[in-house]
């Protein structure tokens, strides 16, 4: 991931936000979606994505579904009810963080 230290803390929120918007998604789809939205600026690495997904699943924020697609099994992730609530909280937290950062980095604009 680009500038990994800065983005790392927000990876879970990014995943949850995308799942909130798109319903269910599979791992590869998430990496592509992020790349598309940010026009290639942000690249979620595979080595970071799956651990994050598995952690969110273990925390009960994500649920999984399996489907057979093109001769192979595909694992879809979607938000659970508690995951949906948590997404709202985490997005609010992230927005607050962005606001504060803006104040620090560029006091005139804020």
């Amino acid at each position: 991931m680009k500038n990994s230290q800065l983005y790392k803390g927000s990876l879970n929120t990014i995943i949850m936000k995308l799942l909130g918007e798109n319903g269910r998604m599979y791992g590869y789809e998430i990496t592509q979606k992020v790349k598309d939205i940010t026009q290639g600026e942000l690249n979620i690495t595979e080595g970071a994505l799956y651990p994050a997904l598995h952690k969110l699943e273990a925390e009960g924020l994500l649920d999984v579904e399996m489907e057979r697609v093109d001769n192979r099994l595909r694992k879809y992730y979607k938000l659970t009810e508690s995951g949906q609530k948590e997404t709202v909280n985490r997005l609010a937290e992230l927005e607050e963080f962005i606001r504060n950062m803006q104040i620090i980095v560029n006091p005139k604009l804020a």
Binding site: G27, Y28, P51, K75
Partner: protein
């Protein structure tokens, strides 16, 4: 162009060769690598399967799948611990709490009225060890039989049958026996706390060695929606 069934099998083998032993994780990685290879073919149809596979693998970084495997292990261990905790809490809720309290009080009176020496501790520890090992062997036979039938290894299943890697649990009372061969406790409060701790310990062992393995299939289905496809 889509991956053929033979190529999918090759990708499964590739993950196995790169130390991903578990079918659940292999399946997710195979789909991911497959998608990556197929999108490379869209951009460059002449690229070979092997080359495309290597390109995708490189994206996982120098440690390959290691991180993914380790993190998956810790996520599922957490799930297992939660499961143990859920069962444990049930013993402190109605109606099971009646039995739990009776056990604690029973133990308290035994400890209070009978000399608490190393013979008594030995009986407790030995009973626990025999019980644990007997169930370990019994569960292992059951798990092996199921693995042979399905031929696939599931990470959560191994965690269940390795009891969350908590062999420390079994050796702890043994340590206790070695280091505190003789204890004389007069204080009722300490004696009660000790009885509670011992009962909690036995209950946890019972949950891990009997309750959860008995319901293993149910928990595996809950964890892996694909489990039912692959038996």
């Amino acid at each position: 162009m889509k991956l053929s069934v033979t190529q999918i099998d090759l990708v499964y083998k590739f993950t196995l060769d790169h130390f991903v032993k578990y079918y659940d994780l292999q399946t997710e990685l195979v789909d991911h690598l497959g998608n990556g290879i197929e999108s490379q073919w869209i951009e460059n149809p002449t690229i070979s399967f092997d080359e495309a596979l290597q390109n995708e693998f490189k994206k996982f970084g120098v440690f390959g799948f290691m991180d993914v495997v380790e993190q998956r292990q810790s996520a599922l261990t957490k799930r297992y611990n939660k499961l143990v905790w859920k069962h444990f809490k049930a013993f402190f809720a109605f109606p099971k709490i009646i039995m739990t309290i009776s056990l604690i009080l029973g133990l308290f009176f035994i400890l209070k009225n009978i000399l608490f020496d190393n013979v008594l501790i030995s009986v407790f520890v030995l009973a626990l060890l025999i019980y644990s090992f007997y169930n370990m062997i019994k569960n292992k036979k059951r798990a092996d039989k199921k693995t042979q039938l399905g031929g696939k290894r599931w990470l959560f299943k191994e965690i269940i049958y390795n009891y969350g890697n908590s062999f420390v649990m079994v050796s702890l009372p043994l340590q206790f026996l070695i280091h505190f061969p003789q204890i004389s406790i007069q204080n009722n409060f300490i004696l009660f706390a000790l009885s509670t701790a011992v009962v909690a310990y036995y209950l946890t062992t019972y949950i891990m060695f009997t309750i959860i393995p008995a319901k293993a299939e149910e928990y595996l289905l809950e964890t892996y929606p694909e489990y039912k496809f692959s038996k």
